[in-house]
């Protein structure tokens, strides 16, 4: 009779201990990420002697981080599989590109819109969210896997539509000449490579209230550092928002649905509304990221929103650790690094390696052999696939799984073992 009490006390201790560790690890990751985000521009500017190439790459990586944070709400929190996330990304990007460029002037509408970026950020979010709700409403009543398939179909349809409606979207030619975001003024200083702290106001921008007037302002157009600052602020905002959502009543409802939908419904959770909210909120982040992407890239083409994008974001989420925001951010950065820095640089590295080891003959094309450079470039696909498989086999829970969830799974396994152990001797 004393044994159950001992078990209980130990598990309570373990749980308390664990609570500390939850805080520690995730706080530590946030801290490291924040500090490195802070010193990153200065460091790269110092090391490269003023080149902003790395900073704009980091700003681009930030788009993916935003996407991963948003998809995490759908996949990680609510347990819904979304295979067409890029469609909402496309919707956000096209919303911005259409209403902040001269594109609609050449469309059957014959009227230009030049709405300001920060308004469009919200608008892109709302449009994507309403598309998410529209798509989710009829399908979320269905079993989980069917949602995955519906989103897959939707994700295939959206790029094809933008290819096939060139009078609206520019089709294969894409939409260019998109307005840059702007602010009334901007501060620069030694952190951005300037000599002294000063206020910049070096461009003229359309007055949002009277569209024909122009006012002095700071345009983001030429400044990767400004985009970098913007995306870091957006990510911080998104993280705060999402972690508050996670701890709210809604977040707990998502978790309940993820673990057992029937039981959650029996506890009085309206599963359709709750799932719809997860889906729409996830989509809204994608629309948000899309608007930023359209502005920072200055080109919105259907090629940027293919199935590969959805898959890449999903890989980031699952690999980082579903349901854990800090893990998902790390996952996004790791995958971005592998795809955009590690794999592309492999070919030239292999070439120079061959030269140093006196195997320079490998570098030239000969017969069937296309040269080491081309061969290694062809290897990229294979390597990425192998990396995915290896990481999933080694850490099926992801790099930094949600501690709460990990503990749930562990606890379930322990309970099962205990019940088996109890039953066997009694018979």
């Amino acid at each position: 009779m004393t044994e159950p009490a001992a078990v209980k006390r130990r598990s309570l201790m373990a749980r308390l201990h664990l609570r500390e560790r939850i805080r520690d690890r995730d706080q530590a990751i946030y801290g490291i990420l924040f500090l490195s985000a802070l010193v990153f521009p200065m460091t790269t500017l110092f090391i490269t002697g003023g080149s902003t190439a790395y900073i704009s790459q980091a700003a681009h990586a930030g788009t993916w981080v935003l996407l991963a944070i948003g998809l995490n709400v759908v996949v990680g929190f609510a347990g819904l599989l979304d295979l067409g996330y890029a469609a909402f990304f496309a919707i956000g990007a096209y919303t911005y590109a259409l209403f902040a460029s001269s594109q609609l002037g050449t469309s059957p509408l014959h009227h230009n819109f030049h709405l300001p970026f920060f308004l469009m950020l919200i608008l892109g979010m709302l449009v994507a969210a309403s598309f998410g709700a529209l798509l989710g409403f009829p399908t979320l009543r269905l079993r989980g896997d069917y949602l995955a398939i519906v989103t897959l179909g939707f994700g295939e349809i959206v790029p094809v539509l933008s290819y096939n409606l060139p009078q609206w979207t520019g089709g294969i030619n894409a939409i260019g000449g998109i307005d840059q975001p702007w602010l009334p003024a901007w501060i620069t200083g030694p952190w951005a490579g300037a000599n002294s702290i000063s206020i910049i106001q070096d461009a003229t921008c359309r007055n949002p209230l009277a569209q024909t007037q122009f006012i002095p302002c700071f345009s983001f157009g030429f400044d990767p550092v400004a985009y970098y600052v913007l995306i870091v602020i957006l990510i911080i905002g998104a993280v705060i928002l999402v972690s508050n959502l996670y701890r709210s009543r809604l977040g707990r409802a998502w978790m309940a649905i993820r673990e057992d939908e029937v039981a959650a419904a029996a506890m009085g959770i309206n599963t359709v509304t709750t799932k719809l909210l997860a889906f729409a909120i996830g989509a809204s982040f994608s629309g948000f990221a899309g608007a930023y992407y359209g502005a920072s890239f200055d080109l919105v083409s259907p090629d940027d929103f293919l199935f590969v994008v959805s898959i890449t974001v999903l890989v980031m989420v699952v690999l980082g650790g579903m349901g854990n925001i800090s893990g998902v951010i790390v996952g996004a950065l790791v995958i971005y690094f592998i795809l955009n820095t590690l794999l592309p640089s492999l070919a030239s590295n292999a070439e120079s390696l061959a030269n140093t080891f006196g195997l320079g003959s490998l570098n030239t094309q000969k017969g069937d052999w296309p040269g080491l450079y081309a061969e290694v470039q062809r290897l990229q696909f294979l390597l990425f696939g192998l990396i995915l498989v290896m990481i999933m086999l080694l850490r099926p829970q992801g790099l930094f799984p949600s501690r709460v969830r990990e503990q749930e799974l562990k606890h379930a396994a322990v309970v099962e073992e205990e019940t088996v152990a109890e039953q066997v001797p009694s018979r």
Binding site: V75, L81, P138, T139, L142, R143, D145, Y146, A148, I149, V150, L152, G153, F154, E156, I157, V160, L161, Y163, N164, E261, V262, F307, I311, L314, V315, V318, L319, M322, P370, E375, R378, L379, Q380, F381, L382, L383, F384, G385, L386, I387, L388, V389, M392, L393, P396, Q397
Partner: protein, 329 residues
């Protein structure tokens, strides 16, 4: 009520097609022939998707690439024979008859290996883990084909009987030997599969495992072996499909399996995922729909039509054409 909407849409589609059929019957039959040939190939790939999904609830993204790799490998093996692309010789016949089973077995072996490496260790992991490894294996297979032949289109030897003497016009409809070959081969393979699933002990074990894995384990079924067998058989059909695709279209490219896989998966869902006759019928129907949409709506809209159907079917009739209603577990 919801089913009603499904029938209305089907009815409208049939009426629209019927008006086309009446206004130009020859063209309609011609398009149908093309659609059936395409659909037969989709059906072969769709069967693999539906079998794997039925048994372990995994969308096996690598399956489309297994199909393409089947085409690549059969093209390579055919290279060893003294085949004649100009005329149909006895060597061509022997090559086809020999290479078919060889390619099927090779692909079966490859798929079992994939299952052993990438899916089996994750059987008790979170549900999305095997999905990610499936995507990873898909990249690996595409990477292997990319490494092998590069990004360009690969020629597949044109060794089926072709040319003026092997094509005919029946009442204005142009039919080649190849069309017939594709359809007959697919029907034979699907029939063999149906016999296997319904008549053999292993087939029974597969059906039982799909219904309830734990219960069938208690009945003494070796789950791992049954799942491996499912992957093996799915890959047999996909390998055959890849070779048939090559023989029919005479070209392949490394990421052919991506789009074909998506379309085949749509067929499997259309017919009712997990349902074997459903996948075959779904494949043929999707082939037909794609062909009709290519000619009556425009080929650039075909993908929208196919995936629109996918969404419509799932919303209006989530169990697919032949699927049964399954209570949520």
């Amino acid at each position: 009520m919801v089913d009603f909407g499904f029938y209305v849409i089907c009815g409208v589609a049939v009426v629209l097609l019927a008006t086309q059929a009446v206004s130009n019957p020859t063209a309609f039959v011609q398009i149908t022939v093309f659609g059936l040939a395409d659909g037969a190939m989709y059906a072969l790939v769709a069967l693999g998707y539906t079998m794997v999904y039925g048994i372990i609830e995994l969308i096996n993204f690598a399956h489309g690439d297994v199909f393409t790799l089947g085409g690549y490998i059969s093209a390579a093996i055919l290279g060893f024979f003294a085949i004649n692309e100009k005329a149909f010789t006895a060597v061509n016949l022997i090559a086809i008859v020999l290479v078919f089973p060889v390619v099927m077995l090779i692909m079966g072996g490859i798929n079992i290996t994939i299952e052993r490496i990438a899916y089996r260790p994750l059987r008790n992991a979170p549900r999305l883990a095997p999905l990610i490894t499936a995507i990873g294996m898909s990249f690996v297979l595409e990477g292997v084909m990319f490494l092998w032949h590069g990004p360009a289109t690969v020629h597949f030897p044109d060794i089926l009987p072709h040319g003026p003497q092997f094509q005919t016009t029946i009442g204005g409809v142009f039919v080649t030997f190849k069309d017939g070959f594709v359809m007959v081969t697919a029907v034979v393979l699907v029939t063999l599969l149906a016999i296997f699933i319904n008549r053999t002990k292993l087939g029974k074990a597969m059906r039982a495992t799909a219904q309830d894995r734990d219960a069938s384990q208690l009945m003494g079924i070796n789950i791992n072996r049954t799942i491996a067998a499912t992957f093996f058989i799915g890959a047999l059909l996909a390998g055959a499909g890849g070779m048939i695709w090559g023989l029919y279209f005479n070209n392949l490219f490394y990421n052919l399996g991506f789009r074909t896989g998506l379309v085949a998966f749509t067929s499997a869902v259309f017919g009712g995922i997990g349902n074997i006759p459903g996948a075959a019928i779904g494949g043929v129907l999707i082939g037909l729909i794609a062909a009709y949409s290519d000619s009556y709506i425009g080929s650039k809209w075909t993908e929208v039509v196919i995936f629109g159907i996918l969404i419509g079917v799932l919303v209006l009739r989530p169990t697919g054409l032949l699927g049964m209603r399954v209570p949520e577990k």
